[in-house]
Amino acid sequence: MQVSMTVNGRTRTADVEARTLLVHYLREQLNLTGTHVGCETSYCGACTVLVDGKATKSCTVLAVQAEGADVTTVEGLANGELHPVQEGFWERHGLQCGFCTPGMIMSAVALLNENDNPSEDEIRHGIEGNLCRCTGYHNIVRSIEYAAATMRGEDPPASQWKDES
């Protein structure tokens, strides 16, 4: 079947099988391997992308369902410089092994698009659909707080580590 969608601002058209999942289309046909395949059962959220601005598990969407949609993957965030959420994960050590990171970042971007000043509780609930196998949630929350402040044009909260500014 032919499917056409906008991915990171570019119109992409391809032939896919009906059973092709969006994540496999992105990774294997468009070579956008930033989106990860984790649990494959809709739990872990490593495959999270934005479909028409909404955080979506791309392992649980058929590519043909995304016909005509506007899809953003982690590769579509940086625009010459890192997106504030990416910068936050860099600055506040929001990743250990990195496997969950693209999905965490996309969920965080969706959260901050809806709520530019989330409480810690709202951040934790905002990433409830994303699992970190390193259990590094603490720093992930700090990273998203950093990004939220930056995106509001404020100074990010001070790092909890003494040797950093």
Partner: protein
């Protein structure tokens, strides 16, 4: 991991979808696909044809009518959860939708899809039966109404015929004295994931503060979302105080076959059902 091969059709109109469904044996209707696609990937279910109703116009709205709220087949969980009219008239459904799946699943999965899927531990079916909702089932030969309490037949089995699509959920609007609440223990703790036990309580309170009517919907513990009739009946005519709440909670699994599963023994799940009956009733009665 991906599904077996299937034919995919994405009709542009409901009539087209209904005629495809009627003429294709074994076809499966998909709305958000958040339950269906994982089942197909695990190859627990391999329909020959998937009819994606996601492109049909006019099914994605929540509309306030004279005596009910209409929730269309493509209304997402997050839409149900954040809609002020649903919150005002059907708090239990609003809460249950907000605690369905996780954020990404709620962005795509639909309230009507959760009904039609009829999972034994889904949240919103409990709210639908407690609120006295009605399912509008349409086939190419017409439309019929199915009371929510008759809709959930068995595990993953609804009262829909093979040629029917659930096109709308109708939830009665609240009157002066009626209110509702949903509470649960999720499989991942708190409110997250499917319900180990979930209770939706709906009460109508008279001017003198006594309970004039009540319905309690139970999910997670048995083989289908069920009304706890004995528990609700015990509450009617009482003052809705702590003692009558406790008495009702003690009856909540009467007539329900509690099933042991990975998430708990019969004793544990019975206990949870009682605890959450108390909590849901307290919240509903507190208004």
């Amino acid at each position: 991991m991906f599904p077996r091969q299937f034919e995919y059709v994405a009709p542009a109109s409901l009539d087209e979808a209904l005629s495809a469904l009627a003429s294709t044996p074994g076809a499966k209707v998909m709305s958000g696909g958040q339950s269906l696609i994982p089942m197909m990937k695990l190859r627990l279910f391999s329909p020959g044809t998937v009819i994606d109703i996601g492109r049909i116009d006019g099914l994605a709205d929540i509309v306030e009518k004279d005596d009910h709220i209409s929730i269309g087949a493509l209304v997402r969980h997050n839409q149900t959860a954040s809609d002020p009219t649903v919150a005002a008239h059907a708090k239990a459904l609003s809460q249950a939708a907000g605690w369905t799946g996780d954020h990404q699943v709620r962005n795509r999965g639909t309230t009507c899809g959760a009904m039609a899927h009829a999972d034994v531990a889904a949240d919103q079916p409990a709210a639908a039966i407690a609120l006295g909702a009605t399912m509008m089932a349409r086939s190419s030969s017409g439309q019929r109404e199915i009371a929510a309490s008759d809709f959930f037949v068995d595990a993953l089995t609804s009262a829909l015929s093979e040629d029917e699509i659930l096109v709308e959920l109708r939830v009665p609007k609240a009157s002066n004295g009626s209110r509702s609440a949903y509470d649960k223990l999720g499989r991942r703790g708190g409110h997250t994931d499917y319900a180990v036990a979930g209770i939706a309580a709906w009460v109508n309170v008279g001017d003198d503060g006594s309970v004039t009517d009540a319905r309690i919907g139970v999910t997670g513990v048995g083989t289908r979302p069920t009304l706890a009739e004995a528990a609700a009946a015990s509450l009617i005519g009482t003052d809705g105080g702590e003692e009558s709440i406790r008495a009702a909670a003690g009856l909540v699994t009467d007539g329900i076959t509690v099933i042991e599963d990975l998430y708990g023994s019969v004793e544990y799940k019975t206990h949870l059902a009682q605890v959450f009956t108390e909590r849901a009733l307290q919240q509903a009665l507190a208004g």
